[in-house]
Subunit: 418 residues, 2 copies
């Protein structure tokens, strides 16, 4: 059950890039009940990479290797494998066909770099023959080796869809494994840890995982057992307890994002929303429109970065701006009302704030944000203080604004008007 | 000059925590002209940690070890060092005094865990006798070992204040290292590889690196040499050649992002811009407003996700929409013109397209995008076909739109009207 992870790339040992691939792979393997013994990162250097591979082959039952799989000259993984394992490179006809299709479809020409990608060590198996995330696997002296691309999306996709299921099927750690992923917003990690204190002792077999994922916090629970029914019952009990302890902060389960959850709620209720964004500058609209079919409920909105545009487009009164300032409850309420009227939607969502690093004052420091939500009858508004960089403040503002819509539609007691 | 980094902690190999310590140390060492050959992470396991330390001792001139230095039972580093290096533990009187002061000051009692921290391997030198970030160093067979705490703030503090200066003083004279980072857009990795074919052979000492970073592609060149002047000259020649081969695709150097470059150009020329976003739903505004001070040139804009809003807000004629459709050159031109007028800016940037996965037709498949840019005299427009997921198509649309602004302000021949 013991495995190793090797990540290859000059960007890793030079500190140019944070090694999120080994972190992701280690987390997924651990959650699956497998164990990672060592993570090694080396540069794009055949000697160092070969040494890492040889050393891992002496110790591990499985090895995940990421990086060095592309078409450029610093992509050395395939040659190293061929050399260390003494396996000659063979042209993979399936890969060649795939690349030809890719080239034809986009009207490109076959090049030496693309040609290079069709050669793989003897005995390799392509991981994903129909997709465009390339990777391959090998078995050497009963050690299972998986070679994945360094591009995070592709690496994660192959890890989840192919590598993990194969390893779990092969090593059969325990017959039944079930997992749940909870996504939380608005609560920090130490507070989550305090609230869940003692949970893993009360449920002996669960493995709890904590993954900060700015600005969210994720919790996984993994449970193993001999039969499906027992596990299902146990999971239900744990899930209930977690909801009891952390309910209001859990905005989604599994792969759902905040914008999925909010979008689904709006769609189910046949409601339309529009947004007026000052400090977020379009981020809320961008998140909402990441969802296919968002045009059913998202009517659009305005980015009102200047005071004039707040007045001209949203009918915010110059009097209000003058008296209370652009970053105030009064202004955000008029913005929410204004965008709802302008776009003729059921709800109007507005944010205004100081994203920094400049522009803060003693009374309104950087990170001061007001959110406004105009619903059917009332306009709700509130003030927050966020911390961090400009982008972090923008992201927290957008998440909180969307969380307001979620709580509002849930009839959460959070809203004074409900 | 070659060193290694070892990070110790179950939270690292289980994927619970991202290993920011090795990333930080690697970045600082590299920037200082030292080289990191390998980064190894192992759990709080004496066997695995000893193995990692022994292996590093065989290869490195210096070793940075973080983690496992605290007072709890999973903190194993000191025992491992004592065992691997056969150095008995001695009570460090200075450390004992420090801890006594700490205990007295806070009205605590000396505990076994605190007592444990006063014992260190023979020959150790405390790194920071007066601070509360504890760490120590050792020299073993001319290899310099630095043991740092896993707490990021303390680790970074000791790294910057003590470890790096000591290493730089010891390993002098260092060869000069210079790096350049080129950021490219609108060209794929195989094409870059083909265009740069043979470059590293022509310039013997350079190291070329390729880093796809969707939707961009990054190239680094690193050059080492004995004196500053030679290197500067050589770098200039290589830079010139890379610009010759790839110039139009290079939008930025170093840490600059597309939105930095565009923002700087607008600011220098005292121009204001506004945006009308259909398929990107706010992404362009979000990127532009990631830059501090963007309010100087970004006036705001509209997210026009519905046909009505295109007519109502931007004055797009219903006739145009009916005849050519929302995704057409005619519409995007009226959008660009409309937003420029509505916001009273010098330039109006507009995009409309089909981000998918639904909504494509035979004539206008998913990924079809039109970009429009209304400048002082003309409105420019063009059509693209992007690939990938909905989010990738949105991102490519936003990047291309900003790249249009860059090229337009550069007076690039790309624009027919210039």
């Amino acid at each position: 059950m013991y495995g190793e992870i090797i990540t290859i790339g000059n960007e890793l040992v030079s500190g140019r890039t944070i090694d999120l691939n080994s972190w992701y792979a280690a987390g997924r393997l651990t959650a699956g009940g497998l164990r990672v013994d060592r993570i090694t990162s080396v540069g794009d250097d055949p000697v160092k990479a070969s040494r890492a591979l040889k050393s891992a082959l002496e110790n591990a039952l499985f090895i995940i290797i990421t990086g060095g799989l592309g078409s450029t000259e610093d992509d050395i993984t395939i040659e190293i494998v061929a050399e260390v394992l003494r396996r000659p490179l063979c042209k993979d006809e399936e890969m060649a066909r795939l690349i030809q299709t890719y080239v034809d479809k986009r009207g490109l020409q076959m090049s030496p770099s693309l040609e290079k990608m069709t050669w793989m060590p003897e005995g390799s198996k392509m991981l994903n023959p129909r997709g465009n995330a390339c990777g391959f696997s090998l078995i050497e002296d009963e050690v299972r080796l998986y070679f994945l691309p360094g591009v995070p999306d592709q690496m994660r996709y192959l890890m989840d869809k192919i590598v993990l299921p194969e390893l779990l099927a092969h090593f059969e750690p325990l017959p039944v494994l079930r997992q749940r992923l909870f996504k939380l917003y608005g609560i920090n990690e130490p507070e989550i840890a305090d609230r869940l204190e003692g949970l893993s002792e009360r449920y002996g077999d669960i493995i709890l995982g904590f993954y900060p994922n700015f600005p969210e916090n994720h919790i996984t629970i993994s449970l193993r057992g001999k039969n499906e029914t027992d596990i299902a019952g146990e999971l239900k009990r744990i899930e209930k307890e977690i909801y009891h302890l952390l309910g209001p902060y859990i905005f989604a389960m599994g792969n759902q994002r905040m914008e999925d959850v909010v979008g689904e709620m709006l769609r189910e209720r046949c409601l339309k929303i529009s947004v007026a964004e000052s400090c977020t500058g379009g981020l809320i609209g961008n998140l909402l429109t990441n969802i296919p079919g968002s045009s059913h409920y998202f009517q659009g909105g305005v980015m009102v970065y200047s005071n004039e545009s707040k007045c001209d487009l949203l009918n915010v009164s110059p009097e209000t701006l003058k008296r209370y300032g652009a970053v105030s409850d009064q202004t955000v309420r008029e913005m929410a009302h204004g965008i709802k009227n302008l776009m003729g939607t059921d709800m109007g969502l507005a944010v205004t704030g100081i994203a920094g690093p400049e522009g803060g004052t003693k009374n309104k420091p950087v990170g001061t944000v007001h959110i406004g939500l105009a619903g059917n009858e009332h306009v709700h508004s509130g003030k927050y203080r966020f911390w961090g960089t400009r982008q972090q403040i923008k992201m927290n503002t957008a998440m909180m604004a969307l969380d307001w819509v979620r709580k509002y539609l849930n009839g959460d007691s959070f809203f004074p008007g409900l």
